[in-house]
Every structure is written in structure tokens, then in C-alpha cells.
Symmetry: C2
Subunit: 370 residues, 2 copies
């Protein structure tokens, strides 16, 4: 298959290795792996997980739940505050699969209690320190009110407490990540102790990619929900979640112009392909991806002396040393490891494996209807 | 039509007003308007331009040229350094329409001269100060080489010199934009004087949205190519290109959670909907969009005391004063004027007009094939 436009390459073997490592860590830790599928959003990549006996997944929207339900997944957690405007789709899903929703406010519980027609499992989101969303773990009155409302609702089944420690993404030291993780586990245990008489079966769920990758022991909860680990990216490498060799996706971008006066190379590949996410370097300058050499069946580690320094809508600007600059000619393909593989995959809407197979992404097959 | 998920609203009357104003300015300046369609990427929005006798357009990729050629446009400039890997698509297009390509390097001219089978019009891109891509205007040897190669090629027809002054996007003063524009016109005139004996018909093309919006007189060139003006956004408002009332697109996002402890509201609407582009405020904090009140047939001006302060993949975090916070309840829709309408439209893949009509965006209908 000849590549002529920006293309997201996927090394299946690397992704399989990443999946296998996480499956084994979950097994030795005695926790269930409920992987987050928002990173790949691909029916075919989803199938790779089945071979490791994964049967329950996490997604970030009702639409994504519909997509994967359509591909045979029947235990799906939508790890996002339930959107009560989508009651019709929620009911349609709940009539067919084991649907799990997340709540943060009593108003949402009341609306769901009124609106759902089929049993739905409810997770209460706890804010253990990230401060994006969730109920503070000491907000006992709020929690009592919400849990009682769930219990009295009939169709809603309280499943347990759920945490997302997004603040691990700002860390680069294992000990900091360990502290964040331990704090969350501690807080979840306090909550379980408080509510276990009322809900003897309640479960605890957490697990972002940094903590699930960096830490060796993930015991203490019932399930973990990492997502990015299937591909990883240079943000995760910077955190310490993975080595460069583990990164399973790589952009291939045509070289369309060269500027010998300043050793800059223009790529066909911009913010509509990569997204605008960037990683701040040690010197304060932004990186929009790490340049690698494309090989016959994959790509190298990042190259020295060549950087993707800027993106506009369709253009990428690469700055190079004179020596690196000379290696590229117009019409070549340049490899770039993405800063944030979830957003790049969402924009690219599909994958070309290094074996030459085309894999779909939900964004390329599901229409946005309004 | 009931809105249940993040939706990009489009006020057709505002877009028509924006188009009409630019058409009139082009007419009084005596220049041709060749609008850039990368902002809307919509067959239906394209039709609105035809009513103003627009018959030549600009796009930013061969794929976009194919899309609009498929909708009856037959004079299309791909304003991006020609990607020689797409020779097959280039030939297919050139066999059907009046295709214009842009070159920056002699290597590209040589590859095109070898590869094209039908007449193609060639614009030489000049870097008048933006320093993204283009040939420096004093690089006479380089220009001579390129122009001679075009002239000798047979199939390639030299059309003229083209500039994109992207550095106007960093300005907020009319005089600075005027200086940038005047400099480009001056440099283009020098080039025309130098090459008019060899190419008596050569044309001059420039025109970004800031200069075309802020300046009154755009004479001195043959054509202008603004794109963003059809919708505008808060980046352009910050530059001074438009008022808030001119912004023709607005996101409608469900409120999914509320945090009374810190007066933060969680929206269903994140970086996969808005893009990560942000606008730095006077106090150094980033804004990811301006909050407006949605009305029966549109939206208000930006509200005071409420800000979209952060985006993650699907979440938007809004910080409000206690008074603004109280106005919203879970299940409401919140209006957000985008930072960068081109990227938001590309991610949203379609529009809902305030008249209730659904309009397509190329990203929602054209598959990414590899």
C-alpha cells in the first residue's frame, strides 16, 4: 500500500505486547482489567483484547458504547458523567447490554431514576485529588443522599466507587505516582468501609495509564481502567510509563517543502492530523512529536537533531541540524511519534498496520448526527 | 431537532453577512475574491458563495479539492506546497478542472514537470515575512531557476506569485496589520516588475482573514484568499477582525456535572470537539472558548463571570462566579464561541443551522483512505 498523505501507522506486535503486559500485571495484582477503549476506538483493535479474555470495557461516550455494543461487547462502562439528555440512547443500550454509568450529582441520579427503563449499573465518581470532576471523599452527606437515591430507585444498581487520577499525567517520578495511587486506594477503602453494610457487594475502580504502567502492584481495588497503554505516546514516555520502543503508533507524513536557509522542513501533517497537544521540553520549547526514521517494517527510536517545532492547520514545521536536513528530500515520508495518541487517532480516523492492513477508527465510520 | 450531544450551531444569516461584506470589499478594491474553503469544508456552505458570483476557490489539500470538484467547483487552488506523492490524484483533478498548485522548491517543479499529464497552473509561494514556508523575495537565483523550469515544462503554466501573511494572526493593532500587508504588496510588486517581461500575464495573490477584515483597501493585487471570515471566532475577534456578533458558529454542549464547592461546571465537550487551540487572556490564563447564552434562534454576546478554562478529551471545565453558577442545571445546554472555528468545524464534522437544517462537513463524509 503506497502512502501518499498523512497516515497513522500501527505496529500490531507492539500493541499486543502492551496489552499482554497489562493483562499480566492485572492478573498478578488480582484485579480485573476493564480497558478504556477511547484511545483506539477501533472494532478490530478491540478484538485483540478478546484473545486475552477481556470481556468488559470502558468508553468515554454513549456513542462509543453504541459502537462497541454493535461489535459484540456487552459489558460497557461509560466513564464520563452521565449525560441525561441522551436518555433514549441510554435506554436503547441498557435494553441490550450490561450498561454502567457514572454519576457525580444527585440531579443526575434523579433524572436517571425517572428515565431509565432497564437495569443500569451506577458508579459514583470520587475526586481523590485530580479536581476535574467527582465527589470529594469526605462529602458524606452528599454521598449518603446519592447512594440512598440510587438504592430507592429500582432500576439503578449501585456498583461502587470510581476514581480517575488524571494528575498522574503531570508527574515524572515513580514515587509521586505511587503516592497519588496509594492516596486514592486509601480513600476508596475508607468509602468501602463506610458503605459496606449498606452495599456489601460494592466495588472499587481506578487506574490511569501512568499509575498502571509505572507501578508494579495494583492490588487493593477490584478493577483498573487504563486506556492509553495500548499505544502509548511521547507524553507517556516523558512520564515514565513506557520506553520509546513500546510506542505502537507513528505518523508517516510527506515532506512537501525544504528551507535550506534555516534548515526547516515542511511536512504535510498539521493540527488536523496530530491535534495541537504539545509536550514542553526541558528548555521550555514545545514539541509536537518526536521524529523517527521509517524502516521497512516499522520505525526507529527518536532521532537527534531534528524536531517538530510547530503545527498549523495542515503544515508541520521540522527544524533540523544541517546534517539531518540533508537526509530528507521532497517526496520522502517522515515518521513522527505523536504527543497524544488518543487525539491523533481520533483525528486520523483509521490505521495502517505495519503488516499493510487497514483498521477502522470510530471517527471514520460513525456519522455525527444531530 | 433536539440537541443531546455536543453540536456545532451555524447562524446562516451571520455567515451570509460575512460573505457579503467580503465580496463588497473585494469589489470596491478591484480584486477577485477566491475564498478559502478550508474553514467550512461544506458543500452546502460553498453554495452560499455561488449566489455572490464566486466561481474560483482555495482549498488546503488535494482531498479537499476532490471533494469540492465533486460538488461542481472547477477552478480550485490548492494553497499548500504541492505534495508530489499525490501525482495520481493531481492528474485526475487536472483532467477535469482548472487546477492550481503551489510550489516552493525546484525539486517539486521537476517532479510535477515529469508527472503531470494535463495543464496545471502553478503559483510560486513567496515568504513575505511569516517564515513558515515560501521563497524569500530576494532569492532571485532560486526564483529564476524555478520560473525557467516551469516555462520549459510544457504542461505547467506559471500563474503568478502567492503570499500568506500568517503573522497577522499575532497582531491586535490595525497599523501593524497594515504594515504587514503593505510590505507584502510592495514585495509582490517588485517581483512582478522583475518578471513581467518573461510573464506578462502573471498575477499576485494574498489575503489572510485579519488583513482582509481589518483593512479597508485591498487593491494592489489581483486576488485575495481569506477563509476564516465566513464564520470568524474569538481569535479573530481578539485580533480585531470582527465583533462578537459576527461570529457565525457556536458550540452547544450539555452540562453533565456541577461542583458547588468551587463553582465549576463540567461540559460534555472537550478537545475532540473544540480542538486544543487556546487564546491567552490579558492575565496570562488560557481561554478555550467564550461562554454565551443560547437563545430561541441563536446566542448572546459572551457572558461575564464565566469561562471555559480547561479541556480534556471529552470534558470541558467551566469556572463561574457564584451567580452565574446558579443559572445552570444539569441537562442544560451551554453555548461556547470557539477559539478557532476551522479546527472546531473539522472535529465536529457537520453543522446544525439555527433554522434546524443539517449541513455536512467533508470530515464527516469523506473517508480517510490509505
Amino acid at each position: 500500500m503506497k502512502i501518499t498523505t498523512p497516515t497513522l501507522l500501527l505496529d500490531k506486535q507492539k500493541a499486543l505486547n502492551n496489552i499482554q503486559k497489562m493483562v499480566e500485571k492485572a492478573r498478578t495484582s488480582g484485579v480485573r482489567l476493564r480497558p478504556h477503549f477511547k484511545t483506539h476506538q477501533s472494532a478490530q483493535v478491540g478484538e485483540w483484547f478478546r484473545d486475552f479474555d477481556i470481556d468488559a470495557i470502558t468508553v468515554s461516550s454513549v456513542r462509543m458504547a453504541q459502537y462497541f455494543a454493535g461489535h459484540g461487547w456487552n459489558d460497557i462502562l461509560v466513564a464520563f458523567p452521565a449525560n441525561i439528555l441522551e436518555m433514549e440512547s441510554i435506554n436503547e443500550l441498557a435494553s441490550k447490554i450490561n450498561l454502567h454509568l457514572v454519576v457525580v450529582n444527585i440531579e443526575t441520579v434523579e433524572a436517571l431514576a425517572q428515565g431509565v427503563k432497564y437495569p443500569v449499573k451506577i458508579w459514583v465518581k470520587i475526586d481523590a485529588g485530580y479536581r476535574r470532576t467527582g465527589i470529594l471523599p469526605h462529602a458524606h452527606n452528599e454521598l449518603d443522599t446519592i447512594l440512598n437515591a440510587i438504592q430507592q430507585s429500582g432500576k439503578l444498581q449501585f456498583e461502587g466507587f470510581l476514581v480517575h487520577d488524571g494528575h498522574t499525567y503531570k508527574q515524572t517520578e515513580k514515587e509521586a505516582i505511587q503516592t497519588i495511587h496509594n492516596t486514592s486506594v486509601y480513600l476508596l477503602h475508607l468509602l468501602r468501609d463506610r458503605y459496606k453494610n449498606q452495599f456489601p457487594e460494592l466495588k472499587l475502580s481506578l487506574g490511569d495509564t501512568p499509575s498502571c504502567s509505572v507501578l508494579d502492584d495494583l492490588s487493593g481495588v477490584d478493577e483498573i481502567r487504563p486506556g492509553n497503554f495500548v499505544f502509548y505516546d511521547i507524553t507517556q514516555q516523558h512520564i515514565g510509563s513506557n520506553t520509546y520502543q513500546d510506542i505502537a503508533v507513528c505518523m508517516a507524513c510527506p515532506v512537501v517543502a525544504k528551507h535550506p536557509d534555516r534548515h526547516e522542513i515542511i511536512l504535510y501533517g498539521g493540527s488536523v492530523h496530530f491535534s495541537k497537544d504539545m509536550l514542553l521540553q526541558a528548555d521550555g520549547s514545545p514539541s509536537f512529536g518526536a521524529i523517527v526514521a521509517l524502516t521497512a517494517n516499522g520505525w526507529s527510536e527518536p532521532l537527534e537533531g531534528i524536531e517538530l517545532v510547530s503545527l498549523s492547520q495542515e503544515h508541520g514545521i521540522v527544524r533540523a541540524t544541517p546534517k539531518q536536513f540533508e537526509k530528507y528530500k521532497i517526496g520522502d515520508l517522515m515518521g513522527v511519534l505523536p504527543v497524544h495518541s488518543c487525539l491523533t487517532a481520533d483525528l486520523m480516523k483509521g490505521y495502517l498496520t505495519t503488516d499493510g492492513e487497514y483498521l477502522e477508527h470510530m471517527s471514520g465510520v460513525v456519522q455525527q448526527h444531530v
